[in-house]
Symmetry: C2
Subunit: 181 residues, 2 copies
DNA sequence: ACACTCATGTAAGCTGTTACATGATTAA
DNA sequence: TTAATCATGTAACAGCTTACATGAGTGT
């Protein structure tokens, strides 16, 4: 596994830090963010929960739902918290995907503020360098780039610019109210 | 395979429409867009090329590079073009990923203008609906969303807005100069 | 009766990655 | 000679999706 990659494993641990949930709850929650981060199918989510329980990173409690099928509510254990925080310390990969970044973002509560800022900063650098390399492509019209490449580069530049702007204002805000923790 | 999903297969076919290339050329080319679309590893790319050749969708020619290891230059066949265009006709999936969209964008030359416009239009609708659902999340602060979710929603809104703006101006441009073809 | 949502799970398969192997050529 | 880039390929594995199975309750 690539260093710092967000496998479902860690993402689930992070969500359980916020509050105990069932597998179904997790699916529901993620479907709301599916455009950005995708949402896992049952076939990948449930096995992950089982594995986490076998490693004692989470505990499971059967809750006999009223007029509903019983749920299995999972809670993170101390061992789970340790594993999660060890993972969070790792720097994200050189060229992390947008999806991986969003997943880390959702887990912001599990980060300390300095680490969160550092991650945003790192992302900023990555996006900036990407933006630069795309801009270079535009300046060099050698080998007559076709319509598709032009569109893709243009699209990439627009998204990168927007992301840079968002990162800048968000970093400012974090810096401003960095009293808590 | 999900309807209209861009497997490497079709993407390679599309690239070969632009000009004959070797596997290595394709990798190089894609690494420049890796931030947006990712770039395939040799372990996935070369087997795809072999499969395409076995199905007679591409032809292969050994070119003994001067002072370089020999290359295998692949060209698309008529059968390949037919398969590609059949695939292009398919509507993209309800909730296609950014990556899938970029890949289609790069293949714009293989689309007729009306189909390209239709794809952009479809993407516009998807992004717009996503933007709306995220905006709704902001208005409902019930269940006290935590920092992570707030950040993710905010980030999603910023990107969606930027993408909508790009799509609008690009659609305008396409409409404007839709004389050729 | 039928279909749908809730809720969990299994098994098969696809896609892609990593890690490795090969071999030539260029630059330190 | 050592490393790096060019160029191709294989084999093992990880991760995820699809399709299916189960079963209770709810709505039409």
């Amino acid at each position: 596994m690539a260093a710092g990659a967000v496998s479902l494993r860690y993402f689930v641990l992070g969500l359980l830090t916020q509050k105990p949930m069932s597998g179904y709850d997790i699916k529901r929650f993620l479907e709301g963010l599916s455009w950005l981060a995708g949402s896992p199918s049952g076939g990948s989510l449930y096995p992950v929960l089982r594995a986490l329980r076998q490693e004692d990173l989470v505990t499971m409690e059967r809750v006999p739902g009223i007029k509903r099928p019983p749920k299995k509510i999972y809670s993170i254990t101390e061992a789970g918290s340790e594993v999660l925080h060890a993972w969070i310390q790792q720097p994200i990969a050189e060229c992390a995907s947008l999806k991986a970044f969003v997943m880390r973002l959702v887990l912001a509560d599990s980060h300390t503020r300095p680490i969160l800022s550092a991650h945003l900063q790192q992302r900023r650098e990555q996006v900036a360098s990407h933006h630069k390399s795309l801009a270079n492509r535009l300046k060099v019209p050698a080998a007559g780039p076709n319509l598709g490449q032009q569109l893709a580069v243009d699209y990439g530049l627009a998204l990168a610019a927007a992301e840079l702007a968002w990162l800048d204002t968000t970093l400012d805000q974090l810096q401003g109210q960095q009293s808590p923790k």
